[in-house]
């Protein structure tokens, strides 16, 4: 057992409710220990069924196991929980590509590149599709060839890629209840419910403040902190979408990501109604 896996196993044993299972599951997957990775991810998912990262991890493990249908379903679920999850978009795109549906694959990659234009793997994948519109038969999604790893390299909270410092996105209703998404604290714990509760009434208070001060309808709130930045937008009158990123990401860029998330949230809320 390598040191990192031993350390992560110990950490998870000491704090079973922590999100260390994400890092441990991914480390095991990368080492090809897929049965162990599956057990760890399954356990974490049981504890955090609404955590998009956990479904994302499951999808990568399924993909490496060759169960592409299960991988697809897991990525769809990750995307439902976090519409901005580019790794899920890339994973689904890869599976469409494997199935020969280049149009769907391209559409998912286009969505991913709009969300994260700095991820070099997305334009690379798009370029590959143009030069080779059919996936090679030999492209098996297992660790040996690592196509899934290449296509779905992502910024999991336990293993930040440094891309855009993704700390999660949370859709909250007017009563402080989480509707969708997740938020990861500095110790990799899920802080979504705690933050959601604090956000109860934010939309009403922001609307009241903006109106009484002659600022019109409120459109966004940006909050800077040394450890991370928050961006709040109201997808609908009674909901707030909170996006959290590392402070290295420029606030204006965070605003663009949040606005995109708000559009996705509005569509999702419309579909749920």
């Amino acid at each position: 057992m390598s040191d990192d896996i031993r350390t992560l196993t110990s950490r998870l044993a000491e704090e079973p409710a922590s999100l260390a299972f994400l890092e441990l599951g991914e480390a095991l997957r990368r080492r090809g220990q897929l049965d162990s990775a599956y057990k760890v991810a399954r356990g974490g998912l049981g504890r955090y069924p609404n955590l998009a990262e956990a479904h994302d991890l499951m999808a990568r493990i399924f993909g490496d196991q060759g169960d592409l249908a299960a991988a697809f379903d897991a990525w769809v679920e990750a995307l439902r929980l976090d519409p901005m999850r580019t790794s899920a978009l890339k994973g689904i795109a890869f599976l469409y590509y494997r199935a020969g549906n280049v149009a769907e694959a391209r559409e998912h990659l286009q969505r991913a590149v709009e969300i994260d234009p700095d991820d070099p793997s997305i334009p690379q994948a798009l370029a590959r599709m143009q030069t080779s519109p059919r996936a090679p038969e030999s492209a098996q999604p297992h660790v040996g060839s690592q196509p899934l790893t290449a296509v779905t390299s992502q910024s999991s909270p336990a293993e930040p890629s440094g891309g855009d410092g993704d700390r999660g996105q949370l859709l909250v209703d007017g009563n402080g209840l989480r509707l969708s998404g997740s938020l990861v604290g500095p110790n990799n714990e899920d802080v979504g419910d705690r933050v959601a509760a604090e956000l109860a009434g934010v939309s009403r208070e922001a609307a009241r403040t903006a109106k009484l001060l002659g600022l019109g309808a409120w459109q966004a709130i940006a909050v800077e902190s040394p450890e991370g930045n928050l961006y709040l937008v109201p997808p609908t009158e009674n909901t707030v979408l909170l996006t959290m990123r590392d402070p290295a990401l420029p606030m204006a860029r965070l605003g663009l990501i949040a606005e995109r998330g708000a559009r996705e949230a509005r569509a999702w809320l419309g579909g749920e109604a």
Binding site: E205, T209, L212, G216, I221, A222, V223
Partner: protein, 115 residues
């Protein structure tokens, strides 16, 4: 001129800023202000103070320290707030035409001098 008034003067000189004030968050009082006519400093203090407090709790819930800057954007203007030590917050009311980047820098610089 006091340090607080000097800071407010600098912030207010940024194009598009309608006024600035120093407020006490917990009691919602105005400590110092420099506002255009017709702007109610007490209303800003009460509303902005409450919102900053609420957002501070949300940030704490996410494991973050006290925010260093808050920007509430409306479709007709914005409120900018820079929390300081001793329960004080430097607040600016700005129009749509404001140079937000410069206003932010001036406010953060002012907070650095006042803390």
């Amino acid at each position: 001129m006091s340090a607080a008034n000097t800071a407010l003067e600098r912030v207010t000189q940024v194009p598009g800023v309608r006024g600035s004030l120093l407020i006490s968050v917990t009691d919602g009082l105005v400590v110092a202000e420099r506002l255009m006519d017709g702007i109610d400093g007490r209303a800003i203090a009460a509303l902005a103070g409450s919102l900053v407090q609420r957002l501070g709790r949300a940030a704490a819930g996410a494991g973050l320290k006290i925010p260093t800057f808050v920007h509430l954007r409306g479709n007709a203007g914005s409120v900018l707030a820079a929390p300081m030590a001793n329960d004080l917050v430097l607040v600016a009311l700005v129009g749509l035409d404001a140079n937000l980047g410069l206003a932010r820098l001036e406010m953060l610089d002012a907070v650095g001098h006042l803390n």
